[in-house]
Structures are given as structure tokens and as C-alpha cells.
Subunit: 147 residues, 2 copies
DNA sequence: ATATTTGCAAATAATTTGCAGTCGA
DNA sequence: TCGACTGCAAATTATTTGCAAATAT
């Protein structure tokens, strides 16, 4: 997305497109790295030295309320964020902690409506070892990196 | 499960069945209420006044490592625990915060293996309103209780 | 000029850790 | 007796809050 598009996208969701908001959304949009609030803060701080962590938290909270990002509750310690709000799953590598998008069609996953419930969010995630860490010839990193 | 069975179950998973460990496992087993560490602590404190929260945390960590409980990462604030380690989903009501087990067969959910990944855990959860809160004639509680 | 956005510093809350006392085989 | 289990208190860490300063319309 271009900056112009992001402005429109945010506005269409009732978010005034301030400079910091655009930059944070752009970050999520382009990196697609499912970062924590702190990762966003640390990375953007290099480019925007005046940025404060409170603003990151404020912005993420607003984005969440307005539905332009979703929370990924996959890591015990910290919430991760995703600007892709379409239905998809996630995989967290227990070795490198990278989070990968999982296309639902690829998994063949589907489910019917839950009787009697009003479902507003559906999430699914997996944990294990990603192809990169699996393929590593040095298996020690898998053991040593254990949290 | 009887206390005797729990002792055997814990031992078979490499856990020495101390009094507190048995009581905590029994709590999870019988209530099936997907509690937080604090909920377990508060409830058991009434019956075991000498219990400390550290012991609850220690025990849950051990249970997790030994695979007799799973973590439910569905609530942003706190980790919930489940002694049912079989594959099943969860539903968190955004009104009453109750967590309900979802039988995978009921949802028709299934998925094929993820190519190239070594999957050791699969989780899925839903959020929305449960039948009880949906059926309530006083809709205000749904609005007022909003976190 | 007026409402919104930002940011510092302090507060909160879940969880972890260090360490000493206690208990059970 | 000896190592495992327990628990207090302090530390850590992610997140939130109060409020004042900066900014935008």
C-alpha cells in the first residue's frame, strides 16, 4: 500500500491518519513480521527518534478497536500484531520464535458454525519447528535456544 | 479420577505426586474451568491455607513441562490452564469471560499436515458470546461489562 | 482556540527468581 | 541425612494510566 492508500484505509475505519499512525501501519503492512509492541517501537525508533512506546501502545489499541489489526495470542509473554485481518492461521517456531502465516486452504482446515454461540473471532495456531530450523545441520541451536 | 489414579498419572509422567501437586491437578481435573494461576490459588487457598502462589506457579510450570496440562493462550492478560491435553478447541465469551471446550468433531474442523513444518502443538479458539449471555433478556450486561 | 495526539513517568499486574526453611524417603 | 518441595519477598516485564506539552485543524 502507498501512504495515500493507507491514509484512506485508516480513515475508512474511523482512524485519523496521523504521521505516527501511518508509519506504524506501514510497518505492519510491509514487514508482515507479526511483531510485538516493543519490536515495532525498537525498529521504528531508528527512523523516528521522537517516537515513544506509549504512542505505539496507544496506536495499537486504537487499531485493534477499529479492526485494522488483530492480536495474535501465540506467545506467552507478549501480544503480537498482524495487519492482515483476513481469516488465516499462524505458526510459531519454538526455536527461532518466528511467526509464519498459515493459509487455511493449504491446511484444508474448515469448520461449521458453532450452534448457539455468536462467534466474532476465530483463531488457530500451531507451534513446533519451522522448515529453516528443521533443515539446519547444527541441531544444537534447537536445544540451546530453548527458552 | 481418584487421588490414587492421579498419583499414578502424575508419576507416569515423571512428576512426584506431592500433596499440593495432587490437589492442583485434582482442581483442574474436576472443575474443568480453564482457570488462571491466580484463580487456582484463590480457590485452593480456602481449603489449603498454607498454599503459596509460588507453589501454584512452580507446579503449573512443571505440569506444563511434563505435558499433563496445556496452556490456553486466549486471554490477553493471563494464561489459562487445562488438564485435558487431547486435541480440542476453546471458546471465550467476551461478556462473561467463561471458557468453554469445543469438540473438534462438532465443528467439523480438520486439517492436513503442514508441509515442511514439524508441528508439536495445534490450538484453535473462538471469541464471541456464549449461549447463556446471548439468551439473556437484559442486553445491558453485554454492553456494560465490556472490558 | 480547541480538540486530538503524543510522551514522560509512575502505576499495575502477571510471572519469575533468589534463597532459606521445611518436609519426606 | 539429603535432596526435593515450598514459600516469602524482591525483581522483572508487558502493559496501562494520569496528566501535561505539543500539534493539527
Amino acid at each position: 500500500m502507498q501512504t495515500k492508500e493507507i491514509e484512506q484505509y485508516l480513515e475508512s475505519h474511523g482512524i485519523k491518519p496521523s504521521y505516527h499512525r501511518i508509519r506504524i501501519f506501514l510497518y505492519l503492512e510491509t514487514r508482515k513480521n507479526h511483531p510485538s509492541a516493543d519490536q515495532i517501537f525498537q525498529d521504528l525508533l531508528k527512523e523516528i527518534p521522537t517516537l515513544s512506546k506509549t504512542t505505539v501502545y496507544n496506536t495499537l489499541k486504537l487499531f485493534l478497536e477499529k479492526g485494522v489489526v488483530i492480536e495474535i495470542l501465540i506467545h506467552e509473554k507478549e501480544t503480537r500484531y498482524d495487519a492482515d485481518t483476513s481469516m488465516h492461521g499462524h505458526f510459531e517456531c519454538m526455536n527461532c520464535n518466528q511467526i509464519t502465516d498459515i493459509n487455511m486452504d493449504d491446511t484444508g482446515l474448515h469448520f461449521k458454525k458453532l450452534e448457539g454461540f455468536k462467534v466474532s473471532e476465530s483463531h488457530f495456531y500451531f507451534k513446533g519447528l519451522c522448515p529453516v530450523c528443521l533443515g539446519s545441520s547444527d541441531k544444537r541451536i534447537i536445544i540451546n535456544n530453548k527458552k
